[in-house]
Amino acid sequence: EPEVTQTPSHQVTQMGQEVILRCVPISNHLYFYWYRQILGQKVEFLVSFYNNEISEKSEIFDDQFSVERPDGSNFTLKIRSTKLEDSAMYFCASHVWGADLPGYTFGSGTRLTVV
């Protein structure tokens, strides 16, 4: 069964450093998403991406965050200058087409720990 693949599974970084989280969505999917889940809290929407541009972003997705689809297969989330409160699980998700199809396929996540 097709999967959304995320790397690394766990990343530890120092506060103020830049991190790039990588995702390989399912190959025929066209809509891509990043979600965040702080330990013990709910899954929160960060950003959606379609046709090489951001289609929607939440209040969490401030100027420190950026997304890119650099080569047609990878989908990356960059945090420019990490803060302690950025520590969370980051999930990538993808969707085949159309806003009305059932749920997204999620990756297994990257656990980001900012120290």
Binding site: F45, G103, F106, S108, G109
Partner: protein, 110 residues
């Protein structure tokens, strides 16, 4: 009022029990309702999907949506220890992104 509310649990049941998991919501525009299962340190996995009101059954799982009451349920029959996980409801309006509930942690004891 939070947009999607869900009892966080933990909910502990014996193996074989019927489990009822519920979410309430406030946005009457929600039309698409999902249940995800999330094992520890894993991404959410889609279990059930329903559109608008009604019931949907898939094996041991039944999803119900009551839009008039803004209430959705997931029933698990003959629960197994492997069902132990956090169950997330998620819902959205047409053309909008999903809003997740906080999740209910379920433990099925052998």
């Amino acid at each position: 009022q939070k947009e999607v509310e869900q009892d966080p649990g933990p909910l502990s049941v014996p193996e074989g029990a019927i489990v009822s998991l519920n979410c309430t919501y406030s946005n009457s525009a929600f039309q698409y309702f999902m249940w995800y299962r999330q094992y520890s340190r894993k991404g959410p996995e889609l279990l059930m999907y329903t559109y608008s009101s009604g019931n949907k059954e898939d094996g041991r799982f039944t999803a119900q949506v009551d839009k008039s009451s803004k209430y959705i349920s997931l029933f698990i029959r003959d629960s197994q220890p492997s069902d132990s996980a956090t169950y997330l409801c998620a819902m959205r309006a047409l053309g909008q992104n999903f809003v997740f509930g906080p999740g209910t942690r379920l433990s099925v004891l052998p």
